[in-house]
């Protein structure tokens, strides 16, 4: 079956700093993200994996190259259009949960919709709430929740507006392994049950094993790719990649 491309990065470059301090974060990276797939982006520190995700997620702009979400090319959009794009087509999960402390769990989940002045689809909302298992904590505020709960709220927030793609930046980085597993199973379920497209940056082989496809980045380029990963295969491929680039 031919896979549909949900997002496409083409020949992206991005350089930080000047002169001696210059760092080439992206060095002509191209990647296609397929619809309904859970993709992991891996790589050592400084490999450009976060920069790649930020560029694809319309949070950062590449120096050159082109990012397409669905049929829209990001470079052509102004700040307002980018904001609307983020609001309507993209979902975000951050390492630091980034919930609004003054709002309850429910209000945090509904935030993107309410900013856009929209009502949630009640059936979909119920599905999401049920899937994250937070039905009894909806009236709580972020400071009354554990890290795992807070991150599941963040996941629900990312999914509630039915985005085309959810970008997750080290979503389990701040969590213990049990909470991390909960969050990852939820993400897996949303791919399997709802057909959600997810891109996740991680350096944890266990986290990567929940995905359909692992893309390895080094020195701002895609250096390898793995389908149907297990934790062992991921680790093995990581060491191969690292040996090849001489880390």
């Amino acid at each position: 079956m031919e896979k549909t491309v949900a997002a496409h990065a083409h020949e992206l470059t991005k350089t930080y700093g000047k002169g001696d301090a210059q760092v080439r974060a992206l060095d002509g990276v191209s990647i296609e993200i397929y619809e309904g797939e859970f993709t992991a982006v891996m790589g050592p520190s400084g490999s450009g994996k976060s920069t790649l995700m930020h560029c694809m997620a319309a949070l950062d702009t590449p120096d050159s190259g082109r990012v397409t979400i669905g049929s829209t090319t990001l470079a052509k959009l102004d700040d307002k259009a980018l904001t609307v794009m983020r609001r309507e087509k993209l979902g975000f999960i951050f390492q630091a949960f980034n919930l609004v402390p003054t709002l309850t769990a429910e209000e945090n989940i509904l935030l993107p919709l309410s900013i856009a002045g929209k009502k949630p689809d009640p059936k979909w909302y119920a599905n999401v709430i049920e899937a994250v298992g937070l039905a009894d904590r909806l009236k709580h505020r972020p400071n009354e929740m554990s890290g795992g709960q807070a991150q599941r709220v963040a996941c629900a927030r990312a999914l509630v507006s039915r985005p085309k793609i959810v970008f997750a930046d080290e979503p389990t980085g701040n969590l213990d392994s049990t909470s991390g597993a909960e969050v990852l199973s939820f993400l897996r379920r949303s791919v399997d049950e709802f057909g959600q497209t997810i891109v996740m940056v991680t350096h944890d082989p266990v986290a990567a094993s929940y995905t359909d496809r692992v893309v390895y980045l080094a020195d701002g380029r895609v250096v390898s790719e793995l389908r149907h990963p297990t934790a062992e295969k991921v680790l093995e491929r990581m060491s191969v990649v690292q040996r090849r680039i001489g880390v």
Binding site: R86, R87, F92, F94, N98, E107, S114, I115, A116, G117
Partner: protein, 852 residues
Amino acid sequence: MRRVTWRNLVARKVRLFLSAFAIVLGIAFLSGSLVFTDTIGESFDQIAYGTVTDVAVRPETGNGDAIAMSVNREARSIPASVIDEISALPGVERAQGAVNGGGLFVVKKNNRLLGGTGAPTIALNAGRGEPIPNAAGDQMLKWEQGTAPVKDGEIALDARSAEVAGYALGDTVKIALPSDPPILKAKLVGIFGFTSGGLAGATLVLFDDDSAQKYFLDGKDAYSVIQVEAKVGATQREVADQVAKVIPEGTESVTGDSVAEESKDLFDQLLGFLNTFLLVFAGIALVVGTFLIVNTFSILVAQRSRELALLRALGASRRQVSSSVLTEAFVIGMIGSTLGLALGFGLAMLLKVLFSQFGLDLSGTSLVFQTRTIVLAYAVGVLVTMLAAWIPARRAAKVPPVAAMRDEIAMPESSLRWRLLIALLFGFAGAGAMAAGSWLDVPRPIVWVGAGIFGVLMAVALGSPIIATPVLAVFGAIYRVIYRSVGKLAAQNARRNPRRTAATASALMIGLALVTTMSILGASINTSIDKGVEREFSADFIVQNVSGQPFSPEISQKITAVPGVDAVSPAQSIVFKADGTQVFASATDAEQFAEVFELSFASGEAPTADNTIALSESMAESIDRTTGDVVELTFSSGSYDATVTGVYADSNVVGQALVPLSTVTTAGIKRGDTSLAINAVDGTGTRTVRANLERAVGDNPTIVVQDKESYAEAQRSQVNTLLYLIYALLGLAIVIAVLGIINTLALSVIERTREIGLLRAVGLTRPQLRRMVRLESVAIAILGAVLGIGAGLLFGVALQRSFQNDGISDLAIPTGSLAVFVLVSALVGVLAAVLPARRAAKLDVLRAITGE
């Protein structure tokens, strides 16, 4: 630790500058007031010491009451024959008579009055022979052009007045006199300067001796004062004692030094009011500034709590942490005071220019910088800043070292319960004092009300975090309905830290409370004037001098003959003491008065015979006298008894007592009408009569004809001018409050960087983000407005109550103005949010969210 402190100061330049700005404004006002009043003081000292001769002989002053002396124009004089006797004394070099006349005006070339209601115009005589020098041995006048006048129809003017009025040597000068003729046309034969600096805007008109006596001393060959020059080697005291032996009864011989001291005291008394007035506003600015500083430091400490915890974990003691914060405060206080002093100097210059517009010309004196001003500016500036930083500093020290390891830090905050308790204490004490001042019979009620106002202000400021909660909840509800999620976020941001929001709003609250108080007082005064005029202005017209000075009785005769005029009732305002209490009274002819006014008598009737008096009800009560009793009236010329013929309902037109015109002459005060009440013949067109009256008054610009409306209007405009001045000064407190809101918002934006990044990431547009900040700002501003207007209403009513018997009989609440205040506050909120909102909108989403 010192390096950490210093780095912090440098790293947070903008924030610190904002909080230092509050101190700058407060100190600028303080030092500006001091410099300005010192300058006025210096200028008047120069006048006081520059115008006295070695010894002066003058009518005994009795009670040297300043107000009485300025209202009552005493015609008592010393016969010229005394001069020869004094001149013959062994210690006396020379003696000469001097005339001091008042109530005159120079009419400018454009037919307007020179000086108007500002600095006085004083008539002097040229003297026979060379004028007596002042005690320092200098001639008081310095001739710049021409010579002294020698005959009737000639005058000389001081240089500034000649210039301002537009007259040159040889011109014909029009002068409005308090005697006959009402308008004198004289040739300007000389222009002189004043040897000892400036004249503070006063106008000097020099006449020849005969004319001066004719116009100001009823033509007697007499003088107001005999000036004496001592022989070289003779002290002032010795000469004064010699002179005392030869002068007639009722006069006294005083040394130049003591005359100078007396006038200096008098000036100080008059200027003391101005000084206090300005310092009160400086105080308000400082109190409001203190709120701003407390707030800024609290927020800075909260934001730095992790860093402070790290310092504690690395071994810094509590004392080191708190003293690091206090050192920052000290530095800010020093910087703020320095800038404030500089700005204060500018402010004093501005005040100098401003006051010269009102006729207080100080161009002859340069600004006076006393060491005291500088010391006080630094002391107050540094002390206030450090005091304001003290609470946040203590809180900083309480940050536990373990907080450095935690992600989210809650600052240890003192319980609101204590705050509430203290607020209630202040509130009850304040309300009690205010109630006592308003309703109970306490001495000096205004002091009680003032102290009460301070107490309640403190209570509201302290209790504001608690009072704020319901108000902000209302905002939440409204915002949610109108602005949906952005509104909800804004309202919740405002409620997130009630202390911070409330402290920020408190600064605005204080300013608005005072503005509201003043507007209620102003409206009440205006209403009282209107009602009073409605009630008591039964005449068709009133003729007055523009500055309240008495004018020639000739005008009253002229007006009686005007066609269409039915009755004329002249009245002269005088001030005296009745059984020791100061009384502002009107002297009238009872018969003429009755034709124009209907005064309602509680008992008895109007006084007609010599040595009689009628009292207003409140005056009768305060001196405990009623119809049939005898009161002792004290003038500077002496005391005599008068029988109370009646007690009438309080009247603003008449004042506290009514006496027959004969009293004026008995008291040795020069006759002159302060006002003429006129009734037109029934059926005559008002406009025609008014035109006739204006024609009769002629080209004398000192006299104005007013009907009911224009009379009330003129009264109101005096009050309103003062009100606008007070509004302008209170505007300063509002400016500081706006700075406070900007500061708090800017700091909050910095504090919430990551959150703002997230909101932007999940789709909040820049306009929405700006709106969020703006709505929070408006909520803070309107919270301040609601609290301020609420408190102001209370104060306004209390003050009106306590002034009920002093002319503010009716309470009026200017609801329109109050609504405008709320709107303006909302606008203030919008304006204050501009920069912080822009800053928030500019945040780079990625950086904000990754917390770099």
